[in-house]
């Protein structure tokens, strides 16, 4: 998959920033999407194009367990998040939604906003087509990949239960 990068190289971008709690009386993805990242970057929703990729520093998605954070990003058009590291619950929520979260250390300093990236999920490689660089990451564990391939945990379970 290919997309253009939006770089937020800071560490500890938390779920309160990704979708503030004042919008948690909303549970629909499209409505949440209007407020994605607004306390960090008021122009985020305006600037994001469908298929774009967020690139961030360490511990992305820390804090509240609100899955609304994943939905707000996906609803805004974000196709994947690449981060140096992820907070645990956010990472789980990504897998469970079949939303691509790629952990790749030290990459946040290298990728610039506007760079065109190609992610080879199974091969564990990010190609920066703008800067002509490659970064490798540990492939997503097989079990998690099965959930992602099923389109999320609920699809995976529904198949087994029904």
């Amino acid at each position: 998959m290919k997309g253009f990068a939006h770089s937020y190289p800071r560490a500890h971008i938390n779920t309160d920033e990704i979708i503030p709690a004042r919008y948690l009386n909303i549970d629909q993805e499209n409505d949440l999407a209007e407020h994605a990242m607004e306390d960090i970057d008021p122009d985020f929703v305006k600037n994001i194009r469908k298929g774009d990729i967020i690139v961030a520093g360490e511990d992305f998605g820390c804090g509240s367990s609100r899955e609304h954070a994943v939905w707000a990003l996906r609803g805004a058009g974000v196709r994947a998040v690449i981060a140096d590291t992820f907070a645990r619950i956010f990472y789980r929520n990504c897998i469970n939604n079949g939303f691509l979260a790629v952990e790749c250390r030290n990459v946040s300093e290298k990728i610039q906003t506007g760079d065109e990236l190609e992610i080879d999920v199974k091969g564990g490689e990010i190609r920066n087509l703008t800067q002509n660089e490659e970064y490798t990451f540990l492939p997503i564990p097989e079990f998690a990949q099965e959930i992602i391939d099923a389109g999320g945990l609920l699809n995976y379970i529904a198949r087994k239960v029904n």
């Binding site: 500890h12 309160d16 709690a21 306390d39 820390c62 609920l154």
Partner: protein
């Protein structure tokens, strides 16, 4: 090689003699906790996927707490939907307004937390319940839906970091100061994906409520769970609340830890975490002159009866400083009633504070105490991220209940020890 308490609990819940860190398992879940914000998406997902029946309705505990008493039409509709669904599913553990409370204060108080069990809750602070020797962790709405449908959930068995806490606390220093000091040392991702096992002389001395404050903030160091080996205090606390049988599991003396962290708390002062991370802790004597607009006493971290007692002892006979406002939110209905019987609420009200019904409200910038741009709040809660309690231009300083009370009196961040 022995096992940690976390490994033992997880092994028993996936039908194995032993599990090792890094293994992927499906664990049976004993208690599934749901609140108003994260549950409606799970209900929709289950309906959409044709997963119509909750596997074990008797294991589900529901407590609307974030936006109650409902703050607007949208939040009222969310709770109405959960109420209808609970009835359809035959879920009897539904804590309606008046019997309600902040989920992590209510769950153990009402006897739903047993040593040796597995608990998941669609809220990050579900790690609180490890204080009673359970494996307890926060999950999102999809995990919640999956657990409701199947009664089990997948986990990677976490590595455990042991925190050996030695020495005795000075008067006026509390368990909140200890956990803020730990997070300041290791950072907000210092225990990422790990189980944080707290042990040592300090833990032995602490009450169950004070232990809950410590485990509550495991997530603020990135931890998967916080946990404490049960002792006689734990057993007494649980038996006073439920007749359900339980098995006490504890870590073996030769259990393997990925790291050991030691701290002596003897010289620890009250700690204040500066904006905008819980790891920005400073000793209260090094804070300087920080004027405050609002003091907030409540939440799953420090809204229990002992916290209210600590604050009331300091506030008795004093007034909230002019130009300052103080909000007190007992975390559950039973705590509210107990505080009322003990005269604590009178002390707060006479001092010029206001006392509200139990709610998570202000802690997450939901309602009942939102901050305006430029305002500063000293808060007994657990997070001080940008925008956490309202405006992204407001500031939140985290502290223990005594420091919150002393600061309310002085209108600036103040040391509680001079009032004791």
């Amino acid at each position: 090689m022995g096992s940690t308490i976390t490994e033992k609990i997880l092994a028993r819940h996936c039908g194995r003699d032993m599990v090792k860190p890094g293994e992927l398992i499906n664990a049976e879940i004993d208690v599934v906790m749901c609140h108003d914000v994260t549950t409606t998406p799970a209900i929709d997902m289950l309906a959409e996927k044709g997963l119509r029946k909750v596997a074990h309705p008797e294991r589900v505990v529901i407590m609307p707490d974030h936006f109650v008493p409902n703050k607007d039409i949208k939040s009222a509709e969310m709770v109405a939907k959960i109420r209808r669904w609970a009835k359809e599913q035959g879920i009897e553990n539904f804590y309606e307004l008046g019997r309600h409370g902040v989920c992590h204060a209510l769950l153990p108080e009402q006897g739903h937390v047993l040593p040796g069990t597995t608990i998941v809750g669609a809220d990050s602070h579900t790690c609180t319940h490890g204080a009673l020797g359970a494996f307890s962790t926060g999950i999102g709405s999809t995990d919640l839906a999956a657990t409701l449908a199947t009664g089990e959930l997948w986990f990677k068995v976490p590595e455990t970091i042991q925190f050996r806490l030695n020495g005795k606390l000075q008067k006026g220093v509390c368990s909140k100061d200890v956990i803020l000091a730990i997070i300041t040392r290791i950072g907000v991702d210092g225990a990422l994906y790990k189980a944080m096992e707290f042990t040592g002389e300090l833990i032995d001395d602490l009450s169950i409520e004070a232990r809950m404050t410590i485990c509550n903030m495991a997530i603020e160091a990135g931890g998967k769970s916080g946990i404490i080996n049960p002792d006689q205090k734990t057993i007494d606390y649980v038996k006073a609340r439920t007749a359900e049988p339980f098995e006490v599991l504890v870590s073996d003396s030769d259990a393997e830890y990925t790291a050991v962290f030691e701290m002596d708390v003897t010289d620890l002062e009250p700690v204040v975490a500066f904006p905008h991370l819980p790891s920005n802790g400073r000793s209260v004597s090094e804070v300087g002159n920080i004027a405050i607009d609002q003091a907030y006493l409540g939440s799953c971290t420090n809204g229990r009866i002992e916290d209210l007692r600590i604050a009331a002892q300091i506030m008795r006979g004093h007034q909230v400083a002019p130009g300052m406002r103080m909000i007190v939110v007992p975390a559950t209905s039973d705590i509210w009633k107990q505080a009322n019987r003990e005269g604590l609420l009178d002390i707060f009200m006479e001092a010029g504070a206001t006392v509200s019904a139990p709610t998570c409200g202000a802690c997450l910038g939901g309602h009942m105490g939102i901050l305006a741009a430029g305002e500063r709040c000293i808060s007994s809660t657990n997070r001080n991220f940008v925008g956490r309690m309202g405006s992204p231009k407001a500031e939140v300083y985290l502290a223990g209940p005594g420091t919150v009370a002393a600061s309310a009196i002085e209108g600036k961040i103040a040391d509680p020890r001079k009032y004791l």
